[in-house]
């Protein structure tokens, strides 16, 4: 096979694969702009009304805010637990380090739907904790493994003697941490935040059972909405969410070379 033939074969395979992976998004963007009252592709005419309608649907507004709050505060809480844990696992010779690592990583392995059901049955029902609080804790636990892993890997490159030097020069241990360690792992912490945010925001199975009157995360709300309505607004909302994720990932890549950490 000569070179140009091989080039052609190469790009046609890649073209087909990428069409399969990315094509659906282009379709969704257009489907959300269809001027029909029902979902149609190719659209007969284009309109922005469904994109605008998304913002006026009351339940979307409420569930978007809930998902945002869960993603931001759940990830922050996970970092609050995860950064010290990652630090300890790297800097101390802990007796049960492997056990701690496995326990903290467990939420990744256990399918989310089971976690949601378990929390509903054995936490929300018997103790009367609100669904919102259960959601917050579930999302925190879900993001925790990513926080520990990403922060850990950015800490392995940081030599411990820098910190020891800071202590010898008169810093307290806490000061050594905030002045030497933290600035050096800032990129990792930010990357962990972004990864955690995206994971939490897109999460469905965990939240499936953890919903109550007026309390629904955005993806769950979309599932409920598409069961009763067949207009293009879910397509429009899907396209907007895709743009939001892309914007976050691109900004992160530009600012800190996000992909290094993931």
């Amino acid at each position: 096979m000569n070179t140009s033939m091989r080039h052609l074969a190469n790009w046609s395979i890649l073209g087909l694969t990428l069409t399969f992976l990315i094509g659906p998004f282009l379709i969704i963007i257009l489907a959300g702009a269809s001027n029909t009252e029902y979902l149609a592709f190719p659209p007969e005419g284009l309109t922005l009304k469904w994109y605008l309608k998304v913002f006026t649907v009351e339940s979307f507004r409420a569930s978007f805010l809930l998902s945002m709050a869960l993603a931001v505060f759940g990830t922050l809480a996970a970092l609050l637990l995860g950064v010290p844990a990652a630090y300890a696992l790297n800097r101390y010779d802990l007796p049960m380090a492997e056990t701690v690592r496995t326990i903290v990583a467990a939420p990744i392995i256990v399918p989310g739907i089971i976690v949601g059901l378990a929390l509903l049955r054995y936490m929300v029902v018997p103790t009367g904790v609100t669904v919102t609080l259960a959601l917050f804790m579930a999302h925190t636990a879900l993001v925790l493994p990513y926080a520990v892993r990403v922060v850990s890997s950015s800490m392995t490159n940081l030599r411990a003697d820098m910190e020891e030097a800071a202590v010898l020069l008169g810093c307290s241990r806490l000061q050594a941490f905030t002045k030497v360690v933290l600035p050096n792992i800032r990129g990792g912490v930010l990357a962990a935040f972004i990864l955690g945010f995206v994971t939490s925001f897109n999460q469905v199975p965990v939240s499936l059972f953890l919903s109550g009157p007026g309390v629904r995360t955005l993806p769950i709300d979309m599932l409920a909405y598409m069961e009763i309505t067949f207009d293009p607004s879910v397509a429009a909302l899907s396209a907007l969410l895709a743009f939001m994720s892309l914007a976050i990932v691109f900004t992160a890549e530009r600012l800190l070379g996000f992909s290094r950490y993931v």
Binding site: F41, I103, S238
Partner: protein
């Protein structure tokens, strides 16, 4: 390395305790539910009942079948795509690789919903079929195993490609040309050179795709509905429609055992490599 163990534990334990209380304990109680006999004591009756229902057996086998099919297809496409990506120049390689990874960051609801637009009654495929006069009425493409298969494949293919690309990058550059010069056909090159050298990546990608497909909820829910139930959607139905927590517990155990064994396998590969 600091020596003060107590200090270290004080930093690490909050995370571990949090995970234990929120994850391990509730999940363990849930899993124990299927073993609790009606008259107290322990029994396997929950499992026997579950598997003696034909619908449950169908769903169980379908989930395994779709998982294997998706993983197998992803492997075939993945090898072709990964081979092409590795052969690109460094600049376009990064771009193409980025386009493969990007979908992973996007909401699975959005990714799955696109298939409704493609396969729905007024979707692109049906418009084409009726437009060409191949059929007078739109075909039912949604709520079929094919729809679920396509949705899962699109969702998890990137994981396979990523694993295979990093496996192929480790093949020494001259090995494939050398095999060709020595007279191996492309088929022989694949089975005697590429496959043995990328076995690890294939296993990693395969487990990720298989467990992903096994534990996906959104895709079977949106594209399969109650016509094409998979274990996850069956679990949801058992809880929300029939309040049957014993079945839910059995399904949970099946899912956890599969996903745990897959992870053990991955861990063993990782340690074997080190």
């Amino acid at each position: 390395m600091f020596r003060n163990t107590r200090e270290g534990l004080a930093l690490a334990l909050p995370a571990a305790i949090f995970s234990t209380l929120l994850f391990l304990v509730p999940v363990a109680i849930l899993l124990s539910e299927a073993f609790r006999g009606t008259s107290g004591g322990w029994s396997l009756q929950g499992y026997i009942d579950f598997f003696s229902t034909p619908l449950n057996r169908t769903v169980f086998l379908r989930t395994l079948k779709l998982g294997a099919l998706v993983a197998g297809t992803a492997a075939v496409i993945g090898y072709a795509a990964a081979f092409c990506i590795v052969n690109l120049g460094p600049k376009s390689r990064g771009k193409v690789f980025g386009m493969v990874v990007l979908p992973l960051m996007i909401s699975p609801v959005a990714r799955t919903y696109a298939w409704i637009v493609i396969l729905g009654r007024t979707g692109i495929v049906n418009e084409a079929i009726t437009g060409l006069g191949l059929s007078d009425t739109p075909l039912r493409l949604l709520f079929t195993e094919t729809a679920v298969f396509l949705g899962l494949l699109q969702l998890f293919l990137p994981l396979m490609i990523i694993s295979l690309v990093s496996a192929m990058e480790n093949i020494p550059r001259d090995v494939i040309p050398a095999a060709r010069v020595l007279g191996a056909s492309w088929i022989e090159v694949f089975f005697k050179v590429i496959l043995p050298l990328t076995k690890e990546g294939l296993v990693i990608g395969g487990t990720l795709v298989f467990t992903g497909a096994l534990t996906a909820y959104i895709t079977p829910a949106i594209l399969g509905g109650s016509k094409v139930l998979m274990l996850e959607t069956l679990l949801y139905q058992r809880v929300n429609v029939s309040n049957d927590f014993v079945s839910a517990s059995v399904i949970a155990m099946i899912l956890i055992v599969m996903s745990f064994s897959a992870n053990l396998l991955l861990k063993r590969i990782a340690t074997a490599r080190n």
